[in-house]
């Protein structure tokens, strides 16, 4: 069988979805907005009636509710219907922005088959559709690499007939077994994947009449994109690899769970003694003016919402389900107008005459979640022994982060470049696992590490978190941003990016892991306007010194 093009994938995906939208749950479509995606969406709207669902939709838009403004104007309760109540196919642009709350609600609606979702994900590698939804959408498509020329119109003429045939399609039990086995071999733990594959196979059999072809397509559309490990080669359905990397974060690599506990405990003990207590907590009091004075856009630290946190004065506003009406303020505003309004409308049965313009809503100031980003220098110069201590130090900080329910992200840089090992998460288990598996050695691409840190920090801030950066390095850079070796250029690059980081105005701690303190780390710390903490050598004498210092 000739390898089909991604667009042929898309065409089959659309056909299957159009035949049985409810059961398939939907399509996770990763593509930039552009003519290719538009062509797909036009075909989709031809096949099925769709409605738009904003990634920021509130409960009122989802479930409907009382339209307070209209109710007040007409004096009769006016209700709106919601997208989930109505059901059908929803198209969500910028699906990577769907917050966990919305994902939860959509997940429940998808489970009941009353709603299906086409999630348009424009996210970069690190952000993406919430895992709860990825799992529930049958088809995963990636159209990013396509050019418009390669995308002919999709033929949707036989959909109706195929829909009618759907209920008569029989899938033999051996096929079910085959799909299940293949999913296991591909390392897909979720049982939703084989169920979806089966549903797609059924829909496509109804279309093509040939269950062999349908099965091939179903495997390509549902299983291949979720693959974590390639199945044994003797299988002719072995689908070509279509970037399975992005899935790895979800279903987890539980295999490397078991590791020797003892060395780590030792490291932990060693590091415990040398780190000042409550380092992270002390950041709360960290003087922000110490950092760069540029105002910079900081959407993270404080958000003015109206649900949680400290109360702010209430303000005029429209009533909706996501707002809470401040009854007292509303009445207070309405009070002086009662006499004139009564005069104007003597027959009104209401005892208090309230108009939409009186409505005040409650506001609160919410301190947002903190995200602690660890950037770990795992290069050879942070000699291996120091790396172990650095890991130990991070573990202590992790325990602190855990008790404060902070998000944690992990970046390592060594050899050629930096790697985001873990995007911000609350799962300490996962962080620790990644940390333990962190290898050391190679050059020090400090600039690349700082650049990745910058990106993660920026993204976290955009998501409304308050990021804090913890850098563990000796400050000795020898790989420049473009991958060239050489101290001079590498150091310059690092300082350059440090400036950009400083403008982000987030608290930064630099833990110097050098054996002997050198000016390099200190310089970097100054460029970052960071708080500088040297990690002393963990020998008994020094430890005792550090402890007694902490006691006085």
């Amino acid at each position: 069988m000739i390898t089909p093009t991604p667009w042929e994938h898309a065409a089959q995906a659309l056909i299957a979805f159009a035949i049985d939208p409810g059961a398939l749950g939907g399509i996770w479509l990763r593509a930039r907005s552009g003519p290719v995606r538009d062509r797909f969406l036009v075909a989709l709207t031809e096949a099925l009636p769709t409605q738009k669902l904003s990634p920021l939709a509130d409960d009122e838009q989802l479930y409907g509710g009382l339209d307070v403004t209209a109710t007040l104007a007409t004096l009769k309760p006016v209700f709106t219907t919601g997208l989930i109540t109505r059901g059908g196919v929803c198209v969500t642009p910028m699906a990577e922005r769907i917050p966990a709350e919305l994902a939860g609600r959509l997940g429940a609606a998808l489970d009941s088959h009353s709603l299906s979702l086409v999630a348009l994900d424009e996210g970069t590698e690190d952000e993406g559709l919430p895992a709860a939804l990825q799992d529930r959408l049958a088809i995963h498509l990636d159209l990013d690499a396509l050019s418009f020329r390669d995308c002919p119109q999709i033929d949707l003429s036989d959909i109706k007939a195929a829909r009618a045939r759907l209920s008569t399609v029989e899938i033999p039990p051996e096929t079910i077994r085959h799909i299940t086995l293949l999913a296991v071999q591909m390392g897909i733990t979720s049982l939703r994947a084989p169920v979806h594959t089966l549903r797609v196979a059924r829909a496509l059999t109804a279309m093509h009449g040939d269950d062999e072809t349908a099965l091939h397509w179903a495997i390509r559309l549902c299983l291949a994109p979720r693959m974590l490990t390639p199945p044994p080669m003797e299988d002719d359905e072995q689908p070509e690899d279509s970037s399975p990397d992005q899935q790895q974060d979800n279903d987890g690599d539980d295999t490397n769970k078991q590791q020797s506990q003892t060395d780590e405990d030792l490291m932990l003990e060693a590091a415990k003694a040398i780190l000042p207590k409550d380092l992270l907590a002390s950041l709360a009091t960290f003087d922000m003016n110490n950092a760069a004075s540029t105002s910079g856009s900081k959407s993270g630290a404080k958000r003015s919402g109206n649900r949680r946190g400290r109360r702010l004065p209430s303000r005029k506003g429209r009533a909706s389900s996501s707002n809470r009406i401040d009854l007292l303020a509303t009445l207070r505003t309405a009070a002086p107008w009662q006499a004139p309004r009564r005069k104007a409308r003597p027959k009104d049965p209401r005892r208090i005459l309230i108009e939409p313009s009186d409505i005040h809503i409650k506001r609160t100031q919410d301190v947002s979640d903190r995200a602690i980003i660890f950037a770990v220098d795992a290069s050879g110069s942070t000699a291996l022994a120091r790396l172990a201590e650095a890991k130990g130090a991070i573990e202590i900080l992790l325990a602190e982060a855990y008790s404060r329910r902070d998000h944690v992200a992990l970046i390592s840089f060594r050899g050629e470049g930096a790697e985001l090992l873990l995007p911000p998460t609350r799962s300490i288990v996962q962080t620790k696992r990644r940390l333990a598996a962190l290898p050391g050695g190679g050059g020090t691409p400090l600039a690349a590490g700082l650049k990745t840190a910058y990106e993660v920090l920026d993204q976290a801030a955009r998501k409304g978190m308050a990021p804090t950066l913890v850098i563990l390095t000796d400050g000795v850079a020898n790989i420049a941003l473009d991958g060239e070796a050489g101290r001079g250029k590498a150091g310059e690059d690092a300082l350059e990016i440090a400036k950009a980081l400083r403008i982000q105005n987030a608290p930064i701690i630099l833990i110097d892991t050098a054996r002997r303190q050198q000016p390099l780390a200190k310089d970097l710390s100054n460029a970052l306007a960071a708080r500088y903490v040297p990690m002393p050598r963990a020998d008994a004498r020094r430890m005792a010194g550090a402890v007694s210092e902490a006691l006085t």
């Binding site: 709350e101 429940a108 799962s427 288990v429």
Partner: protein
């Protein structure tokens, strides 16, 4: 949802199913925490519960699902009583408070639900249009005498989790806001599910759940195939599938009803009490919640199995679920708490 997947048709996941059934027999066991991978049937099991559980008698259309036996304690039925009766507190039920059989409520609590929606709040609609101060009951009221289910409980906002556990423990929801003062029964079993990869529940909340269950994808191929086959059959013709499993569901329901009747009669031998205490001491669990839950769950298990006395088998069957989350836990400890609990149980009962 129109049709739920039949409870008895769920393949495997015995520990989770047992935990849910035992809390139906004795709700005082407390909540159930279900942690595990995606697509392992967590939500399916909870949603299947509503169809499985025996019906309860409740006042028709009462948003609090009250029994009608004590209308003075229910804001809805109180309002329907004639004035004189309401004052004297006599509990003669007016015809308006007709008692009917309703399914045990299993209420979904969506993530990000506002506190208003959960505990209830002033009914803004009626306040604005009719000028009346009326309390609009929230999800806690609707879940009374049933189950409250939170998918992804680990992502729920902390202040809501606190509130839920507090109400679940006291069995009463007290609302004092916007000039309202309402007190109503809210006796429900809290079921929380989640995926540990996405964040954990705060440790101080863990042991307020009665039972905790770890679910994993079945590793046996035949079992997996069976899951897919049944799911497929259900998708294709849910009515026929439900009918096919009705007998099993009915039998299970009968067993639950019998268990509910007998649970108060199950006796506890002295040495079983000692076993419970010994287990908890060996685990080093704080407080006496561990022993109490162990005892209640074992009693419910004995009642479910039709025994009149708790035996060691009952303890063995449920100890892991009742104790797994009570270990004094180092958040950074990788070793599975299940393995540790099982080892300790084996040691104590050796």
């Amino acid at each position: 949802m129109k049709h739920a997947f039949p409870f008895s048709a769920i393949v495997g996941q015995d520990e989770m199913k047992r935990a849910l059934i035992l809390t139906a027999i004795d709700p005082s066991i407390g909540g159930v925490l279900v942690f595990g991978d995606r697509g392992t049937g967590k939500s399916t099991a909870v949603r299947a519960l509503a169809a499985l559980l025996p019906t309860i008698s409740a006042v028709e259309n009462c948003p609090y699902n009250c029994t009608g036996k004590a209308p003075e304690s229910c804001p809805h039925c109180m309002a329907k009583l004639p004035k004189s009766q309401a004052k004297s507190g006599k509990s003669k039920v007016k015809p308006a408070n007709r008692v009917v059989k309703v399914p045990t409520p299993v209420i979904d609590l969506p993530l990000g639900a506002t506190e208003d929606r959960v505990v209830g709040a002033l009914d803004v609609e009626r306040a604005l249009t009719e000028g009346k101060k009326v309390f609009e009951p929230g999800l806690l009221a609707r879940a009374n005498r049933g189950y409250l289910y939170i998918d992804e409980a680990n992502l729920l906002e902390d202040h809501l989790v606190d509130l839920l556990l507090d109400v679940a423990q006291s069995g009463e929801n007290l609302v004092e806001r916007e000039g309202l003062s309402i007190r109503h029964d809210a006796k429900f079993v809290l079921v929380g599910s989640g995926n540990p990869e996405e964040g954990e529940l705060r440790p101080q909340l863990l042991d307020r759940f009665g039972l905790s269950v770890d679910v994993a994808s079945p590793t046996d191929l035949d079992e997996r195939v069976e899951v897919i086959k049944r799911r497929d059959a259900f998708d294709r013709d849910s009515a026929a599938f439900i009918a096919e499993w009705k007998a099993q569901d009915d039998a299970l329901r009968k067993k639950i009803i019998a268990g509910q009747k007998n649970v108060s009669k199950v006796t506890t031998p002295e040495d079983i009490l000692r076993d419970c205490a010994q287990l908890c001491i060996a685990l080093g669990s704080d407080g006496l919640r561990g022993e109490l839950t162990l005892l209640r769950t074992a009693r419910a298990h004995a009642a479910f199995e039709g025994r009149s006395e708790i035996t060691r088998e009952d303890i063995l069957a449920i100890a892991t679920s009742a104790l797994r989350h009570r270990l004094r836990r180092d958040p950074l400890d990788d070793a599975g708490s299940t393995a540790r609990v099982e080892r300790i149980i084996a040691d104590v009962f050796a």
